[in-house]
Amino acid sequence: MWLYEKKLQYPVKVSTCNPMLAKFLVEQYGGADGELAAALRYLNQRYSIPDKVIGLLTDIGTEEFAHLEMIATMIYKLTKDAKPEQMKQAGLDAHYASHDSALFYHNASGVPFTTAYIAAKGDPIADLYEDIAAEEKARATYQWIIDMSDDPDLNDSLRFLREREIIHSLRFREAVEILKEERDRKVFF
């Protein structure tokens, strides 16, 4: 069960009217390494992983939905006042033809979201390594968007999200160490 808090995890402010950034940001919305894929991946893996790390997957999976909501807010703010002509100039013409300014789960190239993005091998180590890779890929995506964005306020929120990916990656790395059960044991080689 979840409790919903009606506020964003971190404030989202967009200071320049640049709908093209929405085109990039949608990669983190419905892309392979996006927040939706991350949330569904972790929350689904919880059922087939040792008890010790279930809580971690619940926590991080839940937080990914909070990130998804931030990304949605960014995209919404960037496109809500864009006229058809501006959508066209921003390269969002195909999106507009299909969705107007509605959000949709697809990646930056318009490929719709698919559950094929979500790995669940059932092997705890394979799945956690997958999760670490997913966090690093999401971190890289945020970097590439920051590189292309000149909106300081938007970048501030994106930097927060990137930092969270770093912490999630760290927690998954720790989960692997916990499952190895070698911590606090004196090891001699």
Partner: protein, 71 residues
């Protein structure tokens, strides 16, 4: 320690575009501390909420590395 690493890809005389020069990649702190030790220094709660982590050891500021070279 410098966390932003760089390398220079080979540029052939036959490549169509001018060389990009340096390529950059980030190596954030979790790569160097894969298990968090106990009792690390902490940010104040307010600062931690703004930065996205409670732990200075795991904070990594990112900015476009290409911009600094005037691109």
């Amino acid at each position: 320690m410098k966390r932003m690493k760089e390398y220079t890809p080979y540029h052939s005389p036959n490549d169509p575009c001018p060389p990009i020069g340096k390529k950059y990649y980030s190596t954030p702190p979790q790569l160097y501390i894969p298990f968090q030790p106990a009792n690390l220094p902490q940010y104040s709660p307010k600062e931690a909420l703004a930065k996205g982590t409670l732990w200075p050891a795991f904070y990594d500021y990112y900015d476009n590395p290409y911009r600094q070279r005037g691109n």
